[in-house]
Amino acid sequence: MSLLRVLDVSATGMSAQSLRLNTTASNLANANSVSSNREETYRARHPIFAAELNRAKGGLGSSVGVKVQGIVESVAPLNQEYAPNHPKSDENGFIYHSNVNVMEEMANMISASRSYQTNVQIADAAKQMLSRTLQMGKS
């Protein structure tokens, strides 16, 4: 039944987008984190989406779900600040801020929540189509 596959596919979309929302929340929460050395500083995290490989038994199916291939840390340069009075400053008086770009994360958040909504609506439409099919010939 293709319509039941629709529910699976939009579920993969929803879980991928909610993971993206999760990383955004983590990035925004840590936007102002500081540390005293480069290694420990928080770096923005972003999920990598990839099209799901088709199931081996069905060959090339018509629909492809999404899968989260992994989460990568941003390689953008860290912001280094000279603050000798800061309790976290290193021996040279520097503290390191995370490389989270708040504007970028807000845009990401809106995009993720819209995509999530779209997937929910697709699942809902598929549900209605299915239930109408089940009602076929009853009247």
């Binding site: 039944m1 293709s2 319509l3 596959r5 629709v6 596919v9 939009s10 993969t12 979309g13 991928a16 987008q17 993206r20 990598i48 989406f49 990839a50 099209a51 060959g59 090339l60 199916g61 018509s62 629909s63 492809v64 779900g65 999404v66 995009s111 995509s115 779209t118 997937n119 609506q121 697709i122 439409a125 598929a126 209605q128 189509m129 109408r132 099919t133 076929m136 010939g137 009247s139």
Partner: protein, 133 residues
């Protein structure tokens, strides 16, 4: 001649199947709206309908390991093709246009319901004939 369901339902029994497959394809496109490199797909309705009516999907058995998979460029299931994007470069190789896909999805589900309604009226006609009322 007794009741022949093949004749009674006509073309609608095939269109319902193709439209439900198309629902799946479009849902896959929307789910992959943010996947880099994903290419949007759609079904060539005419091709798929012809194939469903004749049920003559070409199938070759692989009896030896060195045999190659016989697949046409249009992918395994006939009538399925990649959509031509309406902008040349989207930055990450993804050709899904969410608005277009959503509208097509909505249109497709209306057409699906229309096909279902046609089938329903055929069924109620048959029922009337059986009951003789």
């Amino acid at each position: 001649m007794a009741i022949n369901f093949e004749k009674a339902f006509g073309i609608h029994q095939h269109t319902v199947g193709i439209r439900s497959r198309r629902t799946e394809v479009l849902a896959g496109n929307i789910a992959n709206a943010d996947t880099p490199g994903y290419k949007a797909r759609d079904i060539d309705f005419k091709d798929a309908l012809l194939n469903a009516k004749s049920r003559s999907g070409v199938h070759l058995d692989r009896t030896h390991d060195s045999h190659k998979f016989a697949q046409s460029f249009s992918m395994a299931q006939s009538g399925e093709l990649y959509r031509v994007g309406n902008q040349p470069d989207t930055g990450d190789g993804n050709t899904v246009d969410t608005e277009v896909e959503r509208n097509l999805f909505m249109k497709n589900s209306m057409e699906y319901q229309a096909s279902l309604d046609f089938l329903n009226s055929k069924i109620s006609g048959l029922r009337k004939a059986i009951k003789g009322q």
